[in-house]
């Protein structure tokens, strides 16, 4: 079976909660240019409206701790 190669661009958010736990949120096909202000505005919007909570015990959202854009080329080899 031939290798399967895919190319994806993904924006990865790291949500940090007040209990110190972190969770990730991914967005496919991010825009080529995303400003720091756009992320800050999103962070403020989430905080102000309490829209995100931790899945373990409902911990309060702290902040968007990190945002990483990944451009990935993946080759999947079926070893079976």
């Amino acid at each position: 079976m031939p290798d399967i190669t895919t190319q994806d661009s993904t924006l990865v958010f790291e949500f940090m909660f007040v209990d110190g736990d972190t969770r990730t949120q991914k967005l496919k096909n991010p825009k080529a240019s995303i400003t720091e202000q756009e992320i800050a505005d999103l962070n403020t919007f989430i905080q102000a409206n309490n829209l995100v909570v931790g899945d373990k015990g409902g911990a309060t959202f702290g902040k968007i701790a990190r945002v990483v854009k990944r451009n990935e080329v993946t080759t999947k080899l079926d070893i079976n």
Partner: protein, 166 residues
């Protein structure tokens, strides 16, 4: 318990794409969910066609494997969380339960040093992806383990050994 918002849309090329925003407060109103989904979608090039609310009893967990997290719905857990520090030829074994070795596919020519494992569960695509990320720069390294398991079924313990490539 938290809920999710699913954004259905299309790429510029016309392909269907679904984005799920997780860890959403279940008390959020539909209007707030709409605004949240729109805010996230505005960071993408996707064209939104539909925003729907999904309520999940137990959300998937994602995060660093060094937290020894259990991923749902197939309850995959990992007992060994190695830190890879060697160069070419170094091997590391990832052991756990909830999947069998035959479910695992790996990409070849893993090239990495000093990395941590990062796992995420793609609920809508029904598989778990373990990625290797450089701890210093968060840059994704060319290597991936894909564990594909169905949403339900009986699972066995499994493991996969990875060898650092050139």
């Amino acid at each position: 318990m938290s809920t999710s918002v699913s954004i259905k849309g299309k790429t510029a090329g016309g392909d269907g794409v679904t984005t799920t925003i997780n860890y959403v407060n279940p008390t959020a109103t539909d209007e707030q969910l709409q605004s949240l989904a729109t805010a996230f979608n505005n960071l993408t090039t996707n064209i939104t066609s539909d925003i729907t609310k999904i309520t999940k009893e137990s959300l998937t967990n994602s995060g660093k494997l060094d937290r020894n997290m259990t991923l749902t719905p197939s309850t995959i857990s990992f007992t060994a969380v190695p830190t890879i520090t060697g160069g070419a030829g170094t091997s590391v074994t990832i052991a756990g339960s909830g999947f069998s070795t035959s479910d695992i596919r790996v990409s070849r020519n893993l090239t990495l040093t000093t990395a941590y494992l990062y796992a995420d569960w793609y609920a809508e695509e029904d598989h778990c992806v373990i990625e290797f990320v450089r701890s210093e720069s968060d840059e994704k390294i060319t290597g991936e383990i894909v564990i594909e398991v169905p949403a339900t079924g009986n699972y066995k313990s499994g493991s996969v050994t990875l060898t650092v490539g050139e």
